[in-house]
């Protein structure tokens, strides 16, 4: 049998190992190339190091907002203004919906889609309208993907969106405090802090949260330029978002887009702390109920029948 000298054997083995290691390293570099591409185009050092919203000073926040506005200009071709409207003292927002007159036209869902700069392809909206069987409040009898003229005679319609719970399970479960409840009762998300684990989506009993499975696409002409940092600015890919009762409008004294779009006046919005507000009147005089009351989430979104 031919025996190679020991030295030669070691050399060949070492050479083979080195070749294998180089091949492996090259394959690894090739394999991670998409991440490198993404990191160079879609993120920046400023974004990577950005602090939590509550830790940003006024100057820092202004700088972040300038950066986000510039990015929107660059990537979406739209000139937008991103504001940070703070909660007003003495205000706690509540919403009520009159199930007797909702006709299930989904105008609210459509208005939400436009107002909040949702991804066009997915037709996303924070509102799902359920068509329910008369005689049952069991969600199991409802369907959200009906496709026929409305209203149907033997049905009623129940739009569902974020209930802005006083005891929000989604806030409790977030591992990084990327979502919290503001002083006026609104549950918000810092889209630049969320890590995208979607635990909040699992925890929410009302299907109120949405995840950005892709980078949202909105044509330049359709972008709503009136944007809020914590609400309808165009969200990054890979983070969770939700209904904020249009805080960029409502904190500035306007009404939510879904309410303005409702053709029947089924929606009532206002300050729960103001005894003269319409919402306080509804809660005082109508027999209202909340969804899944037994879970103890204390929704600030109320339903009532008026006939």
């Amino acid at each position: 049998m031919l025996q190679l000298p020991i030295l030669g054997q070691v050399d060949r083995r070492t050479a083979l190992k080195a070749a294998g290691a180089m091949l492996g390293a090259a394959a690894f570099a090739k394999a991670v190339a998409p991440i490198v591409e993404w990191a160079s185009q879609e993120t920046s050092a400023d974004e990577f190091l950005q602090k939590h919203f509550k830790q940003l000073s006024g100057d820092e926040l202004a700088q972040v907002i300038r950066r986000l506005e510039a990015e929107t200009q660059e990537e979406y071709g739209a000139e937008v203004t991103i504001s940070d409207v703070r909660p007003q003292p003495g205000v706690k927002f509540g919403y009520a919906l009159n199930l007797s007159i909702c006709i299930g036209c989904r105008k609210c869902a459509e208005a939400c889609h436009q107002e909040n700069n949702h991804d066009r392809a997915s037709g996303n909206s924070y509102i799902r309208v359920l068509e329910m069987d008369q005689g049952s409040l069991d969600l199991e009898s409802g369907t959200a993907d009906y496709d026929h003229p409305v209203p149907q005679p033997d049905k009623f319609y129940m739009p569902v969106q974020c209930q802005q719970c006083d005891r929000p399970p989604c806030v409790n479960v977030c591992p990084v405090e990327a979502t919290w409840k503001e002083d006026d009762g609104l549950v918000v998300v810092d889209y630049n802090w969320c890590i995208g684990c979607r635990y909040c989506e699992a925890a929410c009993p009302y299907h109120a949260r949405r995840f950005n499975w892709t980078k949202p696409e909105v044509p330049t002409a359709e972008i709503n330029p009136n944007q809020g940092y914590l609400s309808n600015r165009i969200r990054p890919q890979g983070v969770v978002e939700k209904c904020t009762f249009c805080l960029h409008r409502t904190r500035a004294g306007r009404l939510p887009a879904c309410l303005e779009a409702c053709p029947t006046g089924a929606r009532v919005f206002g300050n729960l702390l103001d005894p003269n507000s319409e919402i306080s009147y509804v809660l005082r005089t109508k027999r209202v109920f909340v969804l899944k009351e037994e879970l103890g989430t204390r929704p600030q979104f109320f339903y009532f029948f008026d006939t």
Partner: protein, 421 residues
């Protein structure tokens, strides 16, 4: 530092520890042809997974089949199973350290190394499930904003990383001491071993609490979840270790006694029956009560409104677990190795389905608004999942590759020196 160095003289740790690490690296790149073949295969699968993940990060998680309705899928399913596998190794640690089973003591490191590999896979599965892995540092206590103690996910971060560190310390310390030719000092590892036993229970309990604390998901919202997790973990862990021991004995030529295999078989015999009993108990409570909160269970076992993607999975799992339980009841099943391997494999896959897809997906079907959107993993998800498994198996293989020669005294400081001289 007044240690006696009978075998090695007074070599300081500053010299011997780097040498130990160097030998570990050398050992993990040496082996017979089938070792290279196995590692090449795993590396290739791992790279396929890495690439699929890189594409997922770039293009978004739309490359998965997850949706806002089913927002967790194959990744979290495998994560949950892996936590169980990591905890399962403790079934070797308990007999070895609490009941002084000497033969188990000799192979207990297998369970501890499995725990390390399984935790690496857990961390891998959580990472690939993140929409923004670049923001992982938000989860680091002190650097980010750690929502502890209210978020169960922060508890999971603590217990999983803690368990990893504990096992790294225990195995690393024992191997290093053995490498130096010294007796390990009990005070440097025994307290950690005892701690690791309680810790193993905690990782699976906390992971169960992650799910069962959610009132909006009735399928998970059951007090039986944590005990069920533990029972099935003590099936899958021993099942994997028995097969691993048989493989190591065959291909590595390592003498592993029959006693540890018998002990683990005996444990599985009981835990698989407890596991099945809990399934029956859960199924009875759901279906006898009825009502709309059992929609998820109905979807899982029988299908709902014509949607039945998980039905074949779950019945396969029930069948596998039942057959495995019956096989394990055979009094001397451990003397009949092919039968034992079949029983272990069936039990392992059965638990993987039950604890994976069977546990995670039905909680989302129907959704909280009772919409039925089904989910089956996409090709990208399978690739990434296989990649994480390959990574874990690589870690396990390399750990054994380093540990076995040191433990069987084929590798030590003295020998290394001799070779170098």
């Amino acid at each position: 530092m007044n240690q006696t160095h009978a075998a090695t003289g007074s070599t300081s740790h500053a010299v011997t520890y780097p040498r130990f690490l160097w030998r570990a690296i050398k050992l993990s790149t040496e082996g017979p042809w089938f070792f290279y073949a196995w590692m090449t295969l795993l590396t290739a699968l791992f790279l396929v997974g890495v690439h699929a993940w890189a594409v997922q990060v770039r293009d978004g998680m739309a490359v998965t089949n997850m949706t806002d309705h089913v927002s967790w899928g194959l990744y979290i399913a495998n994560f949950t199973f892996m936590v169980g596998l990591a905890a399962g190794g403790v079934m070797m640690v308990i007999p070895a350290y609490l009941y002084h089973d000497d033969e188990m003591h000799e192979v207990v490191i297998l369970g501890e190394l499995l725990a390390i590999a399984a935790i690496v896979m857990c961390l891998g599965f959580v990472t690939v499930d993140l929409g923004r892995p670049d923001r992982f540092w938000h989860l680091i206590p002190g650097l980010g904003r750690f929502n502890w103690p209210i978020s169960m996910l922060t508890w999971d971060v603590i217990v999983l990383n803690g368990y990893l560190l504990l096992n790294l310390h225990i195995t690393g310390y024992l191997l290093y001491k053995r490498f130096r030719g010294e007796m390990p000092d009990k005070k440097w590892y025994l307290p950690f071993v005892y701690l690791s036993i309680a810790w193993a229970i905690s990782i699976h309990t906390v992971t169960a609490f992650l799910y069962c604390g959610l009132g909006g998901r009735p399928f998970w919202n059951t007090a039986l979840l944590a005990p069920r997790f533990l029972a099935s973990a003590f099936v899958s862990g021993p099942a994997f270790i028995i097969v691993a021991m048989l493989v190591v004995r065959r291909v590595g030529g390592i003498p592993i006694g029959e006693a540890p295999i018998r002990t683990l078989t005996g444990i599985m015999r009981v835990t698989i029956l407890i596991s099945l009993l809990m399934v029956v108990s859960e199924v009875f409570t759901e279906f006898y009560t009825g009502g709309s909160h059992i929609a998820s269970a109905r979807y899982l076992y029988f299908g709902l409104h014509g949607h039945n993607a998980l039905v074949p999975w779950v019945w396969s799992s029930v069948a596998m677990m039942t057959v495995a339980a019956i096989l394990l009841l055979k009094p001397k099943v451990y003397d009949h190795k092919p039968l034992l391997v079949v029983a272990c494999s069936l039990a392992f896959v059965g638990v993987w389905i039950e604890k994976g897809m069977g546990l995670i997906i039905p909680a989302f079907v129907p959704s909280t608004l009772h919409e039925v959107v089904e989910y089956l993993p996409s090709l990208s998800e399978w690739k990434i999942t296989v990649g994480v498994w390959a990574l874990g198996l690589m870690v396990f293989t390399l750990a054994l590759r380093v540990a076995i020669p040191i433990l069987t005294n084929q590798e030590s400081l003295v020998l290394t020196r001799g070779r170098r001289a």
